[in-house]
Symmetry: C2
DNA sequence: TTGACCAATGCACTTGTGTGCATTCGAGAA
DNA sequence: TTCTCGAATGCACACAAGTGCATTGGTCAA
């Protein structure tokens, strides 16, 4: 063995050109739409490319113009609602020829900072943040580098970034209305310690609406956003003297946990003894054991809006785009008083 | 306006060099671990880089050596088990400094082919396939181009590709044993029309084990893998004369749907009237309304194994690595006969 | 027959890195 | 003072593409 040169793992345009007996430019032009190549050369190039297994290097192409890479920063991916968002977004991005880099981050700031830096390292054209708390300075760096930034369900007011969100206030009001119409007297609210803007707003509007009618709401906050916290909230809610008969849970997962505690730990019937309203309309909310009345986030619409923003190069951004959650009437709320 | 030259969106090493008054090589070396740079130059470069907001372009870096990109090909991402896989894998990849490209594909072959091609276009070092049916020829192309290929829960026997999977046979046998010990007489099996190798194997082993004891199993196959199919299976199972009293569902989602139909449509008690065993141990299986006895896929272990394979450059591959699913005893199966 | 014109092609430059090689510079030893 | 050695630095090239510009070859009309 004189040479240690093992066959190059990736074939380049140069190698195709050699095999086809043409110039490298010809290869390049063959794979560029609208370039001027004779039919004969084109065929020779395509034959050689097929034989060698050639694939255009999008990384090198991205060196000159745009990379077509979009970064998706997301936390709590196993949560049904988040999984749904990632699913619809990746699908939509792919359909437009973009490629998706997923950055899975825990909630802590340091982790997100690192993630955002990766975004810049790989020259992503845009960054879509589904969660976490990216420091404003880092997002500004993204913007300064010409990236487009889309924030979903967050309430930062960063100049230049796009902001999508659902109308939480509407959901809070509507939830209160539903429970009152069902004749509920002792209202409760279940939330998490996440302190996300969306969650806080739903809580605030619901509590305020009740207070305007002179009704005080019992608030339960037992841990992170999830089934377990809802279950624990249920345990506490019914383990004492005055227990609620109508509850708004700011998230479906919380609601399902709460319902399970009420049903299986305390033998309550839903909706006869207890009415529950959730938010998100995750798949499980429609399962026969729960049939939760809730609000659906228009995921598909939001994803399409994101694509419109990304594909429009000179979209100004920085105004907040609100989406109407659509109510899903199921069986966890009575149509009227008992 | 004489010039139309707007400030370059991304700052390059050249610009940093100019501002710092050093050569571009110095900048490059500052950001390369172990290179020879004086402390003074390093500081000047870092200052300039900070002021300009410079970030190393990993795309250009990837032109020379490896790209550090790993492609994750996945279908049915909203499914809890898949979401869990994507979550743990992205987390693990990130921890090793890899970047994850998610390719969301429908089950059809054409879609997956296109996805695999993207993988090659972006010079991914490796491809991890969670699902779908990539044609063998395409995977061979990946291998020929020096990519590592990891197939999870599939049964292709492609030379050079790594194969991870869980011991489906063990689960099938164990499920049969559990139901028999509970005293179940009329066994049923719920599966989907997906025809995945894993699903088929679980079904086959379960049915064979029963047949060996002279017991015939009623098989229900009503649609794609999911809650709705399980529910429909339940409807059919109890809508006729001889209904099962012990059922193995090849997936938790099928099991939960089946249980809901049994409980809410036919008023059956679990486990008194009906025993159910699932597979996957998704989060919902532990919820209070179900408490499903099932088998957990060792997601974390599998992800770590994937990382070991990817980080070891000369791992031969092509042998199948089996993982033991761990049984989760809950309440959907009686400990003994009624 | 010759000028004009157009399609096809190749050369050379661009993008942003990392790095081998040569050069420079300064310090320490003889 | 001079020689040696190592650290620091810059030049130039490689990587894999796209593309402006010049050149070539062929066809058609005058």
């Amino acid at each position: 063995m004189t040479t240690d040169v093992k066959p190059r793992s990736f074939v380049s345009a140069r190698m195709v050109a050699e095999k086809a007996g043409v110039s490298r430019s010809a290869v390049s032009r063959t794979f560029t739409h609208g370039a001027s190549v004779s039919e004969e050369t084109r065929r020779k190039v395509l034959d050689a490319a097929g034989a060698l297994g050639y694939h255009v290097n999008h990384l090198a192409r991205g060196l000159r113009e745009r990379s077509n890479i979009v970064c998706l920063v997301v936390a709590d991916m196993t949560t049904p609602i988040r999984a749904g968002m990632v699913d619809v977004l990746t699908r939509e991005l792919q359909a437009s020829g973009k490629i998706t880099m997923v950055i899975n981050t825990r909630a802590d700031t340091e982790s997100v900072s690192q993630a955002l830096r990766q975004t810049l390292n790989y020259r992503a054209d845009a960054t879509v943040v589904l969660s976490g708390t990216p420091p404003a300075t880092l997002i500004e760096t993204c913007l300064a580098n010409g990236q487009q930034v889309v924030l979903i369900n967050r309430d930062d007011k960063l100049v230049g970034s796009h902001n999508l969100g659902v109308d939480n206030a509407m959901a809070g009001r509507e939830a209160y209305f539903l429970l009152r119409r069902a004749g509920c007297q002792r209202l409760g609210l279940v939330t998490s310690d996440a302190g996300t803007a969306s969650l806080v707003e739903r809580e605030r509007v619901f509590v305020d609406a009740a207070r305007a009618d002179g009704i005080e709401v019992a608030v339960f906050e037992t841990g992170p956003t999830g089934y377990a916290s809802g279950f624990e909230a249920g345990r506490r809610a019914f383990g004492r003297s005055s227990s609620p008969d109508g509850v708004f849970c700011v998230t479906d997962l919380l609601a399902l946990g709460f319902m399970d505690a009420a049903m299986h730990e305390f033998g309550l019937r839903i909706p006869e003894d207890l009415c529950v309203v959730g938010f998100d309309d995750i798949e499980q909310a429609g399962w026969q054991s729960y049939r939760l009345t809730t609000f659906a986030q228009p995921l598909k619409d939001m994803a399409e809006q994101v694509m419109d923003l990304l594909l429009d190069p000179d979209s100004a951004g920085s105004e907040r785009i609100l989406f109407e959650p659509t109510p899903r009437w199921r069986k966890s709320v009575r149509p009227g008083p008992v």
